[in-house]
């Protein structure tokens, strides 16, 4: 060939993307955005109330009544037995703590790294942390044999001067989860203050009273902003190690036990990445639901955000696969008798299909879908992938907890686990999670408007040659 250039694509085959597809380059006035967010909070249709009502009924029946039943009857109504002393309740604990990780991850890490795409959905993600931790906490209580005495884990001496035992991984867990719940709630509240002030300024009646209390008298003076931003920065940096520690310690509940299939040094990071895996996926589901059910949200939540999420999901999925393989091959190659049996049991035992389903959902599905930008930008598709990943991660926890517990060093006791009332309570847990979201969606501004406006202020388009190039100045 004597051509001086590679063959060219047809003209306009590669259209320039319109930068206005991006939220940051499609600015609207703050007042307009405020109105949109307020409207989304105020508009409730009969569908909303129906769904909320149904969820509330489910929560009352499947969570609170079933819990009462569980407490009165004892754990016998659940499926736990010897040797599977830990069942779905602990699966739920790990699952919800995993879900709760995404909120902080998106909010804190992306804030620290100044990823601009985070701006519109940090709030929704942070809510997920808090609501997820609520479910995790409930599941811990469900799990306990004598939940009415659970306050004995709080570090204070009893009447004989006895304190809790900090040798126990459960105590570390208790300390870590408490820390995480407290700090993530505070971290949710801090960026909410200016939005509460905004809502206070534009509402009347009971909402006004409530928002006034929640806005704690915030006006937006220099000093207030400075203190707020400083505190948020401290939180953003401090909560990341706490987040890692929480799920690491959750994994240590298992890794510290001398049980085949559990005692593994890779469990810490493996659980953290697993938490992110399910958490990211859950964010995708929640964003899709918010975008498609709430008014005005299509402006704030755009394909670009799903694209960002999709990329994160793909990345985390690959990391998860790496860690899983790491865990797998070490025990596979090590050839320890008991580890081998556990592996054989998961792969060829009576529940072999769970193992294959887990691998399919957690690795194959994201790999197959998320490479494609168009697919990544399709909210409903991403939500479905998110759903499958969450199913896969739930199965992963199921395999790690009740299924692995079937195998121990006393083969005489090996016995399968058949869930009982846990199933009902799990439904209740999920319903409660969504109910909290439903209520929050009409009470809390799900979009941090001030952050979006801050983004708008710092973004400009600049013409370079024939193309409009987005630019970003650091306002913070």
């Amino acid at each position: 060939m004597s051509s001086i250039a590679k063959p060219l694509a047809l003209p306009h085959a590669e259209e320039q993307e319109d930068p206005r597809e991006q939220l940051m380059h499609d600015p609207r006035s703050r007042g307009e955005m405020n109105d949109m967010v307020m409207e989304s909070m105020h508009s409730t249709t009969w569908k909303y109330w129906t769904v909320t009502g149904i969820l509330a009924v489910i929560v009352v029946v499947c969570l609170f009544y079933a819990w009462y039943y569980l407490i009165m009857q004892g754990l016998g109504v659940a499926g736990v037995n010897r040797p599977v002393y830990w069942g779905i309740f602990l699966v739920e604990v790990v699952f919800w703590i995993g879900i709760s990780h995404a909120g902080t991850f998106i909010s804190a890490i992306l804030r620290v790294l100044k990823v601009e795409g985070r701006r519109p959905f940090t709030r929704a993600a942070e809510l997920m942390t808090t609501f997820g931790l609520v479910q995790a906490g409930i599941s811990v209580f469900l799990h306990m044999g004598r939940v009415w005495l659970s306050y004995w884990l709080i570090p204070f001496p009893n009447e004989r001067g006895l304190w809790p035992d900090f040798h126990s991984p459960l105590m570390w867990d208790f300390m870590a989860i408490s820390t995480y719940l407290l700090s993530s709630t505070m971290y949710l509240f801090l960026p909410l203050i200016p939005d509460m002030a905004m809502a206070r300024d534009r509402s009347t009646g009971w909402r006004k009273a409530a928002y006034r209390i929640l806005a704690i008298g915030f006006r937006g003076t220099e000093g207030e902003w400075k203190n707020l931003i400083t505190a948020m920065n401290i939180f953003a940096f401090a909560i990341i190690p706490v987040m890692f520690s929480v799920h690491t310690i959750v994994s240590w509940d298992f890794a510290m036990a001398s049980r085949p299939g559990w005692s593994s040094s890779v469990f810490g990071p493996y659980f953290v990445i697993g938490a992110l895996h399910s958490g990211m996926a859950a964010v995708a589901i929640v964003l899709f639901l918010i975008r498609s059910t709430m008014k005005n949200m299509k402006y704030f939540l755009r394909p670009e955000h799903f694209d960002l999420l999709g990329k994160l999901m793909l990345m985390v999925s690959m990391a998860w696969a790496y860690f899983y393989f790491n865990d797998y091959i070490v025990s596979w190659y090590g050839g320890d008798k008991w580890e081998k049996i556990v592996q054989e049991f998961t792969e060829k035992g009576p529940l072999w299909y769970l193992w294959y389903a887990m691998l399919f959902f957690n690795i194959v599905v994201p790999f197959a879908v998320l490479w494609n930008k168009k697919w990544r930008q399709t909210p409903w598709l991403l939500a479905i992938v998110g759903l499958l990943i969450n199913a896969g991660m739930w199965l992963e926890r199921y395999i790690i907890i009740p299924e692995t517990l079937t195998i121990n060093r006393m083969p005489f006791t090996w016995r399968l686990y058949v869930p009982g009332v846990e199933i009902v309570l799990t439904i209740g847990n999920f319903a409660f999670f969504f109910l909290l979201y439903m209520l929050a969606s009409r009470f809390l501004p799900l979009i941090p408007v001030w952050e979006v406006q801050e983004g708008h202020e710092s973004h400009t388009l600049r013409k370079i040659g024939k193309a409009s190039i987005p630019t970003l100045s650091d306002m913070e």
Partner: protein
């Protein structure tokens, strides 16, 4: 009353003599008159935190182990073995431990009742005076030969009273029966001893003294004769000898708990035990190069190999063991005797013992010591005798039937027809403690105390080298409005008046016992006493009286080997594909099903709790397409039962096995409607000794499409692999 002494005073008196065992407290006759005092001056046995221990006898089976019951503040807390008692030397089995669940069973009959109609629940409550009146009428208004007594297997003071009573009024002798006796095939053993030794008595196998035990179906670790004693002796045999480990070989078609402990378990076609025993004898003789005695002359070794499924190698190996070990012992028993050729098996085994030359020697065969109160062994009724008894009922020769300590409606195979025969008996009076099937069919139930609330003694049939009379005393105040049957009968005798009243001038049970015990005054034994009150006090305190010498009787072995023994193949009823091996549940025994803790104690071989199962070889099950927990119908010519399958690796492929002990239609909430009763399949045929040939059955299996999960202690995944469900 002038003789009224308080319990405390009595204990002080008794304490003087009780130097050796401080924990044992004699109850003594005085405790009959204990008066309740206000707690301001509490007697010792009501102190908080202090236990009182009472020695008594276990009534859970007829072995008669000595117990010490720990009581606290009037409640029986714990069963412990009586360390002095020669039968069990302080040990107990699971059934003995669970006695308290009988005592405090929620389903006990609380009051004397008159049934509205036979088989109906409950009935009209009566007072005891009326009850005694009815018994008195029954004794005096019927012709003596129309009065029948059916009592439990243990020869206790009640049996003595009933026997005396029957003799006095001229009624037929009381009949003793128990399902355990049927499954043990006691009659066969006794008959074999009789024919072989020419002496009557229950053979005694000195397992502890032997170093090689060859057992033909004897489940001596489970329920056979005196399991606790035999377990102790087994332990002695295995590990109790210096520098030598005892060796156990078990011939049976289904691995029993005893088989599981065997060093060699040899699966054998049911019914070929006799010929195998003789073949082994012949091989021993041939190996030693001796002249073939007539005993083993008729056996064709190759034919035996073919019929029994035991290889020639195995036979040679077992024969070789006789030279390797010093004191071989051959035990026939259990299922092997409950076949049409059971007597041959027992005799062939005794012939092997004769060949080993162990008659009357350590580790050999003896005849069990006779009881201090009896001059010869009195065995319970055999299957044939029970058939005769039922025939008498059907023929209308029995007008009133007293039943105590046995539950014939459950314990007798259905086919024998006890259930149908009751309608020919106008009046049935049951003294049952529990609402068992027979008590449901009775017109009156006059509940006896539970064993731990009653006085008594029991004549020990076997299990100890010395002659034992085991003593029982109440350890607590009767829990319900029950009355000792002996007291009822004595009171009824008084009420009936006449010869009866003058023959039994006893105020109560204890006086009657004392009258019997009087013959032991000044006799040398564990203790001796010159007068009855002291004797009785010691008797209660130590839990019985026994000799300290070896009272076993050495059988004469002169011409055993010169007899000719037959060894036919057993006859099997029915056209089924499978040999049927019923066995008594080692945990439940014949009457344990109403004790919830026994129900929850796992079976030693299958670990199943709370139900009945049928054991099938896994290969057979696979061939038939049967899985674990599938409900199958087991059908014999005489009946059928539905039962869940347990794939049992240690059973012959042509054999299935089922435990006896469940399948109650009454007997309280823990037993009723639970499991199935293999005895429903039994036919009426008996062996040459008259014992029921319960194992002479061929059955077939029909699939139902039902499943019923068996409760197992074992985790199937770990024991049988990941692909088992």
């Amino acid at each position: 009353m002038s003789q009224q002494i308080s319990r405390r005073d009595f204990l002080k008196l008794a304490g003087v003599g009780a130097a050796t065992t401080a924990v044992l407290t004699g109850c003594g006759p005085a405790s009959r008159y204990v008066t309740r005092a206000p707690y301001i001056k509490m007697p010792e046995y009501t102190y908080n935190g202090l236990s009182t221990f009472y020695a008594t006898t276990c009534r859970e089976c007829s072995a008669g182990c000595g117990l010490v019951i720990r009581t606290m503040q009037g409640r029986a807390i714990k069963v412990e073995g009586n360390p002095d008692h020669p039968v069990n030397l302080g040990k107990t089995c699971a059934r003995g431990q669970a006695t308290l669940h009988g005592l405090y069973n929620p389903d006990r009959i609380t009051d004397p009742i008159q049934r509205v109609a036979r088989g109906s629940e409950g009935g009209t409550k009566m007072d005891w005076d009326a009850a005694i009146g009815i018994v008195a009428d029954a004794l005096s208004k019927n012709k003596p030969d129309e009065i029948a007594f059916l009592v439990g297997m243990a020869p206790d003071h009640l049996f003595d009273l009933v026997a005396d009573l029957a003799k006095t009024i001229g009624a037929p002798a009381p009949v003793r029966y128990g399902a355990l006796g049927m499954f043990e095939a006691r009659t066969t053993l006794v008959k074999a001893a009789e024919e072989t030794f020419g002496q009557t008595g229950l053979p005694f196998f000195d397992i502890g003294g032997a170093d090689l035990v060859i057992s033909f179906g004897a489940n001596f670790l489970e329920t056979w004769l005196s399991p606790v004693a035999q377990t102790r002796e087994f332990s002695k045999m295995r590990r109790g000898q210096k520098n030598k480990r005892g060796y156990l070989v078990q011939f049976e078609s289904r691995m029993s708990q005893t088989g599981a402990k065997a060093d060699e378990w040899i699966p054998i076609t049911p019914g070929t035990e006799a010929m195998v025993a003789l073949a082994i004898g012949r091989l021993i003789v041939e190996a030693r190069g001796l002249a073939l005695p007539p005993a083993f002359a008729n056996v064709d070794v190759n034919g035996v190999v073919e019929a029994s499924g035991v290889t020639l190698d195995a036979l040679n190996r077992v024969a070789g063991l006789f030279s390797l070990y010093d004191r071989p012992l051959v035990i026939p028993g259990g299922g092997a005797l409950g076949l049409s050729n059971g007597l041959q098996t027992a005799e062939a085994a005794l012939a092997l013992n004769a060949l080993a030359g162990n008659f009357g020697k350590d580790g050999g065969v003896f005849i069990s010591p006779t009881n201090p109160l009896a001059d010869q062994y009195h065995r319970p009724a055999s299957g044939r005798e029970m058939q005769d008894f039922i025939q008498r009922m059907v023929d209308g020769k029995i007008k009133v039937l007293f039943v105590h300590g046995v539950n014939p409606l459950f314990e007798l195979p259905k086919k024998l027809g006890f259930g149908g025969a009751t309608k020919y008996v106008p009046q049935i009076i049951s003294f049952a403690t529990f609402p068992d099937e027979t008590a449901m069919e009775a017109d009156y139930v006059f509940p006896d105390h539970h064993g731990l609330e009653s006085w008594g003694y029991q004549k020990i049939a076997t299990g100890s080298a010395s002659s034992v009379l085991s003593g029982a005393q109440p350890v607590i105040v009767p829990f319900f409005n029950t009355k000792s049957t002996v007291d009822v009968l004595l009171a009824a005798a008084q009420k009936a008046g006449g010869a009866l009243a003058s023959a039994f001038p006893f105020k109560d049970e204890v006086e009657f016992m004392d009258s019997k015990l009087a013959s032991l005054l000044n006799v040398d034994g564990f203790f001796s006493a010159p007068e009855i009150n002291t004797f009785a006090a010691y008797f209660q305190q130590y839990g019985g009286w026994w000799k300290t010498t070896d009272n076993r009787i050495a059988p004469s072995s002169a011409d055993v080997l010169n007899r000719s023994f037959k060894a036919d193949a057993a006859q099997f009823d029915g056209q089924g594909d499978f040999f049927f091996v019923p066995f008594v549940s080692p945990i439940l025994g014949e009457a344990g099903a109403n004790k919830p803790w026994l129900q929850e104690v796992p079976d030693p071989t299958t670990t199943i709790m709370w139900n009945t199962w049928v054991e099938i070889n896994p290969a057979t099950a696979d061939k038939l397409g049967i899985e674990d927990n599938d409900v199958v119908r087991v059908v014999s010519d005489y009946g059928e039962v539905e039962v869940s399958v347990y794939k049992y690796p240690a059973i012959r492929p042509d054999t299935i096995a089922m435990p006896f002990g469940q399948g109650h239609t009454a007997y309280g909430q823990f037993a009723q409607g639970r499991g199935a009763n293999p005895a429903d399949l039994f036919g009426p045929s008996v062996n040459e000794a008259g014992d029921l040939a319960f194992g002479s059955l061929k059955v077939r299996i029909e699939k139902t499409n039902k499943k019923r999960q068996l409760s197992r202690l074992e985790g199937v995944l770990g024991v049988y692999g990941f692909d088992s469900k």
